[in-house]
């Protein structure tokens, strides 16, 4: 079973064609990693799935549902969460208020909340402070926490580890592993270590096109491929 199928997605932003032909299949469960250099089109891909850019051609299938053409909020209500590159924190709201908005009912499941507190202790400490005052890493934690505060079917995450201290990165890897047992995660990452430790399947995007698809293990083995696609060996 596949959770998400992109087929021939083309997206333009303003006058510029950014995605030319993006096709890949995210299997259900586990972490799927999308890799690529700066400006390759990773963020644009996630935004196209989320309906924040409307692809002009191709299809985005979530299970049996065609996402292309749907409104972002409707896509979200299918059980898809999104952690944007810029974190999308509501700076004027408190941490608690940020989190409340990410729940469906307006109430927290205490067990899950405790789990998040445990994962990101800083959030507990600053629960009632304005989110704008958080440190860069704490904001990143909040962004991730919002995505996992309720069970979802699919989580799209854009570079969650940037700016996080090593200890937190480890903790987050653990958490993602746990979540991915029930939830599909589509992860965009520059931190190859982190991506490799989590990813089951992967794709590489280059200049708006998918140039490689395969399993993470195979890719991790193939140094030559890494060098060619990501300049990794440097």
């Amino acid at each position: 079973m596949s959770a998400l199928v992109l087929d021939g997605v083309q997206t333009r932003i303003g006058r510029y064609s950014v995605l030319h032909d993006v096709s890949f299949t995210v299997p259900e469960g586990g972490v799927f990693v999308l890799l690529g250099r700066n400006g390759a089109g990773k963020t644009t891909t996630l935004r196209s799935i989320m309906g924040l850019w409307q692809p002009e051609a191709g299809s985005v299938k979530f299970g049996a549902t065609e996402l292309r053409g749907m409104h972002t909020s409707a896509i979200a209500r299918l059980g898809i969460a999104f952690v944007p590159e810029d974190m999308g924190i509501f700076r004027g709201l408190t941490v608690a208020e940020n989190m409340v908005l990410a729940t469906e009912s307006g109430r927290f499941d205490q067990k899950r909340l405790d789990w998040i507190y445990d994962l990101f202790p800083a959030l507990k400490k600053f629960w009632h402070s304005a989110a704008g005052g958080l440190s860069g890493g704490q904001k990143q934690m909040l962004a991730v926490a919002r995505a996992i505060i309720e069970p979802r079917k699919l989580i799209l995450i854009d570079e969650p580890t940037k700016g996080l201290a090593p200890a937190i990165v480890d903790a987050m890897a653990e958490a993602f592993r746990e979540i991915s047992e029930r939830t599909t995660i589509l992860l965009v990452e520059q931190n190859f270590e982190f991506a490799r430790s989590l990813g089951r399947d992967m794709a590489v995007i280059e200049d708006g096109r998918i140039v490689h698809r395969g399993s993470m293990d195979a890719f991790a083995e193939d140094r030559e491929l890494q060098t060619r696609l990501l300049s990794l060996s440097v």
Partner: protein
């Protein structure tokens, strides 16, 4: 300064300001009956301003939309209510106060309904493309203000229109030397009602949060699954309806209205929202009451200063608290 504001905080914070102002005024006026008359008149005036400002507080304070068209809704509300009242002479003049009030409520209702519809159109046609862009908001809503004023000219002609008032709301309650206008009492009643409703709406539900979040980052709110667009329309409709209601009430108070009614009130209304602090209905109420009270006290004590009192109040408060008295967003 610091200790002063801290002690103030302990006894209810800035909410005490109107009380302090009133006490100082009592010392200065010297006559209890005059003071009571002035105070009640000031509170009532404040409430009436609040009615008009509440809509702006929603739209400007929460949604961060600088809507100069707000005053157009106030003007149109006043004219619509006046037209309805003109056709209800029978009820208005009747001896039964129930009929009197009913007629008035019908008129206000008409203004509110207009505000809802107008707000919907206004949001979808005018405001939608300019969220987060103050400059274009100022410009486009100013254009809309011109158009709306001209439409009033086309429909009602330019001559001032007199507003019929229900019989029970004419005159005053007189106790000894104290006099309190009936119309003002009604305005206070309505103001309290509106305040209560808004308070519940914004604090007992996630609406307030969502709006503030949506203004900051619309995309993210949508990505969390909310139809922020609809919510914004809703809020805008509510804001416009409140403006129309405020205009209708103001029209009745003015008794003779012209198309510039809203525009004339605009500055005061903006001042009230700014004094109160963006995004808080409590702040707006506080600001409105302060403006109403100070206007009356200064008018009595130093008539020469009456004109500048609002401006001075605003400057003083902004210097003391650059974000206003009770900002919800900092």
């Amino acid at each position: 300064m610091n200790t002063l504001s801290r002690t103030l905080e302990r006894f209810g914070g800035v909410n005490l300001l109107p009380v302090i102002v009133a006490l100082v005024a009592l010392l200065l006026t010297g006559s209890a009956s005059t003071w009571v008359t002035l105070t009640v008149a000031g509170l009532a005036m404040g409430m009436m301003i609040f009615l008009m400002a509440s809509g702006l507080s929603l739209v400007f304070g929460l949604m961060d939309v600088l809507n100069f068209g707000h005053s157009a809704f106030a003007s149109l509300g006043a004219f619509i209510a006046a037209s309805v009242l003109a056709h209800m002479g029978g009820w208005l003049g009747a001896d039964s106060w129930v009929l009197n009030i009913a007629a008035f409520l019908v008129a206000i209702g008409a203004a509110v309904i207009f505000g809802l519809i107008g707000g919907f159109l206004f949001e979808t046609i005018i405001i939608r493309p300019v969220y987060r862009d103050h400059l274009r908001q100022i410009l486009i809503t100013m254009g809309a203000l011109i158009v709306a004023e001209q439409i009033i000219f086309v429909i009602w002609g330019g001559s001032p229109i007199s507003v019929a008032r229900p019989k029970v709301l004419e005159g005053s309650l007189i106790w000894g030397d104290i006099s309190i206008g009936n119309y003002r009492l009604f305005a206070v009643f309505l103001g309290v009602l509106v305040y209560g409703a808004l308070h519940l709406l914004l604090n007992r539900s996630r609406v307030g949060l969502l709006i503030r979040a949506g203004v900051e980052n619309r995309e993210m709110v949508e990505a969390l699954g909310y139809r922020i667009g609809r919510l914004f329309i809703g809020v805008f409709m509510l804001g416009s309806a409140l403006a129309a209601m405020g205009g209708a009430m103001w029209g009745g108070y003015q008794t003779l209205i012209s198309p510039t009614l809203g525009a004339q009130m605009m500055i005061v209304v903006f001042i009230v929202v700014i004094i109160g602090g963006l995004g808080s209905i409590q702040g707006t109420l506080l600001g409105a009451l302060l403006v109403g009270l100070i206007d009356n006290y200064v008018g009595f004590l130093m008539p020469k200063m009456a004109l500048a009192s609002n401006m001075i109040l605003m400057m003083a408060i902004l210097l003391w608290r650059p974000n206003g008295l009770r900002p919800a967003v900092k």
